[in-house]
């Protein structure tokens, strides 16, 4: 509620909680309560002290119209200014950030939630991302669109299929050290290459699973943050951008929206050389080759050189810029929750509380989330201590 406060240039993450799995036993409502209660108890925030809630879920993924009605009071929203940013909790983070920054609210709960186990397949629900006339009948959906993107990438930059497999190997192995991860394994490039072809060149292990999960974050203004923690994680930069709708209108290898979003976020955070200045990145890579494309658009390397980063181990756990120590979306994909999970994982890294997946001495982290065919709407945030 309106506190008559002052704009707060600085907004912090003061607490995170998540719960993910293949098939969680509780309802969306029960799950929302569980992660919300957990994060509030961890932070020591009562419902009375909470000012606003931004939830991210989706009517189609949940099988309910106005999906947030079902879970907003489970996310502590009763008689609160409780709103929604649909489809990607990365955008809920962005909206929550703006709400706190405006000075209207001191504390904000951001929650992302989806139980893919309850919903039709990802391809079914992303085929209807399309207009009914032009792209839908042609069978474009998230997987086939990512496959077209991957094949064009392979062709233009003379990259082999195995490079995509290496991304999967890295992330699925990282997931072994993340207790929240859904799909985890010590796989080899050969294992990935022997998994069934889904949409050439993408094979099963290069495509995200369908997971259940929820993730909650508590944001606080500079003034309020001090009440809850000595160690706030600051949102130093944030931006989000959309590509045009028609896939044919875009250069799906350039990903200008992501490039622009990251440049703006870097500018806010004062980052000039992302590869050097960022210590750890949690990015949203539902399809293996997208991780390479995102490296390039995020400015970790030049165009066409994403493959080199993965081959040289630059983005491995012991590399210069570890990407997705959590295992990323290739290991865990509760659709609308994945943006918030990236932010939670990045915050844990900066707190030094990431357990076995900890990157030593991480001071600055990058958070990325995306949804839409071939990466249509990207969000980038820079977190720091």
């Amino acid at each position: 509620m309106f506190k008559g406060g002052f704009m707060s240039e600085k907004v912090a993450i003061v607490g995170v909680a998540q719960k993910c799995g293949e098939n969680l036993m509780d309802s969306v409502r029960g799950l929302a309560f569980e992660v919300t209660k957990t994060v509030m108890d961890k932070v020591g925030l009562t419902r009375e002290e909470l000012d606003t809630v931004v939830a991210s879920s989706s009517d189609y993924w949940q099988g309910m119209g106005c999906s947030n009605v079902f879970h907003f009071d489970a996310a502590a929203g009763y008689l609160k200014d409780s709103t929604k940013a649909e489809e990607d909790s990365g955008l809920a983070l962005a909206y929550g950030y703006m709400r706190v920054r405006s000075g209207h609210f001191d504390t904000c709960l951001v929650i992302g939630i989806t139980k893919c186990s309850e919903a039709p397949p990802i391809a079914t629900l992303t085929n209807i991302y399309n207009d009914p006339f032009y792209q839908r009948p042609i069978g474009l959906e998230e997987i086939s669109a990512a496959a077209l993107q991957a094949n064009q990438y392979m062709s233009r930059y003379k990259v082999s299929e195995e490079v995509g497999a290496e991304v999967a190997v890295k992330n699925l192995r990282n997931a072994l050290f993340n207790p929240h991860a859904h799909r985890k394994m010590r796989a080899t490039v050969e294992d990935v290459m022997h998994s069934p072809v889904m949409a050439y060149p993408l094979r099963e292990l290069m495509c995200c699973p369908a997971s259940d999960g929820a993730c909650a974050l508590i944001l606080a203004s500079e003034k309020a943050a001090k009440k809850f923690t000595d160690d706030p994680i600051w949102i130093k930069g944030i931006n989000w951008r959309a590509e045009p709708y028609f896939m044919g209108d875009r250069d799906i290898l350039e990903n200008r929206a992501l490039k622009m979003a990251s440049q703006k976020a870097y500018e806010m955070a004062g980052i000039k050389n992302p590869l050097k200045e960022i210590d750890v990145a949690e990015i949203c890579e539902p399809y293996a080759f997208q991780e390479l494309l995102w490296y390039e658009a995020l400015g970790f390397c030049s165009r066409g050189e994403g493959a080199k980063l993965i081959k040289d181990g630059v983005t491995s756990m012991d590399g210069e810029l570890p990407v997705n120590p959590s295992g990323g979306v290739l290991s865990t994909n509760p659709f609308c929750a994945r943006g918030a999970i990236r932010a939670a994982e990045a915050a844990l890294q900066l707190w030094g509380k990431a357990g076995e997946r900890q990157v030593p001495d991480a001071e600055t982290a990058l958070v990325h989330s995306v949804h839409g065919l071939a990466g249509q709407l990207h969000m980038v945030a820079i977190l720091g201590r």
């Binding site: 036993m25 079914t124 839908r136 889904m198 949409a199 050439y200 028609f246």
Partner: protein, 155 residues
């Protein structure tokens, strides 16, 4: 208190009918399709020919009055062989979807590739290549629909 006999999940469906308007640009484009022409619109600002043709340029945000016909031949920019099934799939797998740069267009067009032996991936890779030329195969009886083109074939 035993919980046998109670299903822990409820199976159900959302089943709803729709009546979508194709709109002014859609009408022009699909009239073209009915006459076996692929129509694009040329943005007066950026000069790009966008296919399918539309009422406004989404980047420049200006109305597009000029419509131009583009070729039904083009070049494959990328392709994929889809092998997995899913609910409400518009075609039966396996099938090939391609990203095609039609001659005369500045945007890419997506459609199926047909007349290829798709029983074996390696075989497909030999036949379908990025850079290959393709041409639309039209239905005999066109109605003004995206599927008036059955698929594109390699030429």
């Amino acid at each position: 208190m035993a919980e046998e006999g109670i299903k822990s999940v409820k199976y159900g469906a959302i089943q709803l009918p729709y009546r979508w308007s194709i709109g002014e640009a859609g009408l022009k484009f699909f009239q073209g399709m009915k006459n076996k022409k692929i129509m694009g619109s040329k943005c007066p600002k950026c000069g790009k020919v966008l296919v399918p043709g539309r009422k406004f340029c989404s980047t420049c945000f200006v109305d597009i009055p000029d419509w131009v016909q583009v070729s039904d031949k083009g070049t494959i920019e990328s392709w994929t062989l889809v092998t997995y099934p899913y609910i409400n799939q518009p075609a039966n797998p396996p099938y090939i979807i391609a990203r095609i740069k039609l001659d005369g267009a500045d945007s890419s067009f997506h459609h199926y590739i047909g007349e290829v032996d798709i029983s074996d991936l390696e075989n497909v890779k030999k036949q379908v290549k990025v850079g290959a030329k393709v041409q639309a195969v039209w239905r005999d009886k066109t109605v003004g629909d995206i599927m008036d083109i059955q698929y594109f074939k390699l030429i």
